[in-house]
């Protein structure tokens, strides 16, 4: 076993355990904190995949922004949750069975496809994969349209979220 494989296995176990806690933690805030650990683990996986740009972006966007947003939302809606009783609904056992079956099916498919186990990293990494990404994003023959549509999507999300989330009744007794 190489060093890389050992690191991968450790990180994979961390990610999966953290993910399990995310979906089962009785306290919402704990679920959000476990999500942060899972996302950090994914950042390490990106480093292993030689995509360091996405590793740092993962930390900046997911841990620095999305996780913060989740924590804020949990605190804002705190009164809704008494954190007592089961946080799972009545379908939980059925859901668990379905998910385990899906996982089994997926793994079976992967194992029966020879390529996934034998395929190795395709050649050397390009000299500057980040610049490649930049070129591809703004190339009219590449992904120019998604690039501009993404900005419009973000604009729409921002406008929509501000419109919905605005507090119209200037709250009383708020800090």
């Amino acid at each position: 076993m190489t060093l890389e494989q050992i690191i991968f296995l450790i990180i994979a176990v961390v990610i999966l355990l953290a993910s399990l806690f995310v979906v089962t933690a009785p306290k919402m805030i704990h679920a959000a904190l476990w999500l942060i650990l899972a996302l950090a683990g994914v950042a390490v996986i990106f480093v292993l995949l030689q995509a360091p740009f996405f590793a740092v972006v993962q930390v900046i966007v997911y841990i620095g922004a999305i996780a913060v947003l989740f924590i804020f939302a949990v605190m804002l809606t705190r009164k809704a949750m008494q954190d007592t009783g089961s946080q799972l609904n009545r379908y939980s056992i059925l859901a668990a069975v379905i998910c385990i079956m899906i996982f089994g099916a997926l793994t079976g498919m992967l194992l029966s496809w020879g390529g996934s186990a034998t395929l190795l990293e395709s050649g050397a990494l390009p000299a500057d994969s980040i610049a490649d990404l930049g070129v591809a994003l703004t190339d009219p023959n590449g992904f120019l349209l998604p690039f501009e549509v993404a900005s419009i999507l973000l604009l729409a999300a921002l406008i929509g979220a501000i419109y919905i989330g605005r507090d119209r009744s200037s709250g009383e007794g708020e800090q």
Partner: protein
């Protein structure tokens, strides 16, 4: 390699030779050394804090017309050691209802997030922590770990004031991250690289000259990121007791301060690397030790500026902090980014002198426009406020009757 011109490389080569002589294969020896460096550098940074505390207290003291620490040791040099001895032996009190794991993790994250930034700082032509090709973004990423520490502290302390303080700080930190990231994008654009060492090498002319506005924005935002005066809402003692760290005691409390002192200096380091040419200077290529000296000198000047601002500015209100960021800094950052990109592309064929003067001119134009628009809207606002005040006064007069002397 001569010991005097480049001691670190000299020593590391010597150690490597020693390892090889001991029978360790050359490749392994070459791999072990940077690992050892990765252990030593954070240790040195941690020890450096001791000096920083003394330096800062001394300067703040002089600014406020008092001697600063001067009792323990010559010039009070041993004061930080006395402080340490004290804080090490203080009891650790955990409040009831605290969420233990995040509560204890918070001070660790606050310091670790700052220490981690040192990994990519280029100290001289030959000694640059670890040169990764996403260095600039790495700094932002590691910085957001510190933000996480503050949220943890606020949530886990089970205290209203801690929570309020944490919310305020986090709102401030994430807000100022935007102009900081956008200002950081300009050096990246000018040097076409995110590696810290390549950014330094791309600066025969300092980026402070080429891009003065982003440099200013970066400097101010980095003060806000540390949460120091005038952005010290976090520890507005008079308003929210002490902020997010209220329930901490002993060294856990001290760690937040270690993080703050170190963060201020680290920001000066990064600013120097990004905008002041890092280790560049006459003779720095041939004699890396000179580059290191230049780097530290420039950093100390920048750090001194930060301390001077801390010592002389009153605190902003939270609404002012937010509006300064979103209504002034972010638009300026966006504008200067656009102008930098345009000039860089349109003047690509022109000589360096033309290109740089165009950059400077664009920056000046943006600055002028912002000042003009700013003063105009400020005047309008003041007029509005005056009207409001006048109408209130007349309302009061209606109720109370006109004053006799009117």
């Amino acid at each position: 390699m001569d010991f005097l011109t480049d001691p670190v490389t000299f020593i590391s080569q010597w150690v490597q030779q020693l390892l090889i002589n001991l029978g360790i294969p050359e490749i392994t020896a070459a791999q072990i050394l940077p690992g050892v460096g990765a252990v030593i550098l954070p240790l040195l940074a941690m020890l450096w804090v001791i000096f920083l505390i003394w330096y800062e207290r001394k300067i703040i003291g002089r600014l406020q017309d008092r001697p600063g620490p001067n009792r323990v040791g010559p010039f009070g040099l041993f004061q930080p050691f006395a402080d340490m001895a004290k804080i090490f032996t203080k009891e650790h009190i955990t409040p009831t209802g605290a969420d233990k794991v995040p509560y204890n993790l918070a001070p660790i994250l606050a310091v670790g997030g700052v220490l981690g930034m040192w990994a990519v700082v280029p100290f001289s032509a030959t000694v640059f922590g670890i040169d990764i090709n996403v260095g600039a973004l790495y700094i932002i990423a590691v910085g957001s770990i510190g933000t996480l520490g503050i949220i943890f502290a606020g949530y886990a302390s089970n205290n209203k004031y801690a929570m309020l303080g944490a919310f305020r700080v986090v709102a401030q930190l994430i807000s100022y991250e935007i102009p900081m990231v956008l200002a950081l994008l300009v050096p990246v654009l000018l040097s076409r690289s995110m590696g810290m060492n390549s950014i330094v090498q791309a600066q025969p002319v300092w980026f402070l000259v080429v891009a003065p506005l982003p440099a200013l924005l970066f400097f101010i935002s980095s003060i806000a990121e540390v949460g120091r005066s005038p952005f010290d809402l976090a520890e507005a003692e008079s308003e929210i007791v002490a902020g997010f760290n209220i329930e901490y005691s002993g060294l856990k409390f001290g760690m937040f301060f270690v993080g703050e002192f170190l963060h201020a200096f680290t920001n000066a380091l990064i600013f120097t690397a990004l905008f002041l040419g890092g280790w560049q200077g006459p003779g720095a290529e041939q004699y890396p030790i000179l580059g290191f000296v230049y780097f530290i000198l420039k950093t100390l000047v920048v750090h001194f500026l930060g301390i001077a601002i801390r010592g002389s500015m009153p605190r902003f209100r939270i609404d002012q902090v937010m509006q300064l960021n979103w209504k002034i800094f972010t638009p300026i950052a966006l504008l200067s980014l656009c102008s930098a990109a345009l000039v860089e592309k349109l003047a690509a064929g022109a000589g360096d002198l033309v290109r740089i003067s165009l950059h400077v001119a664009a920056n000046l134009v943006i600055f002028g426009v912002v000042i003009l628009v700013g003063t105009k809207s400020l005047k309008e606002r003041n007029a509005r406020l005056d009207d409001l005040a006048a109408s209130h006064r007349s309302a009061i007069h209606l109720v109370l009757g006109t004053p006799h002397d009117a």
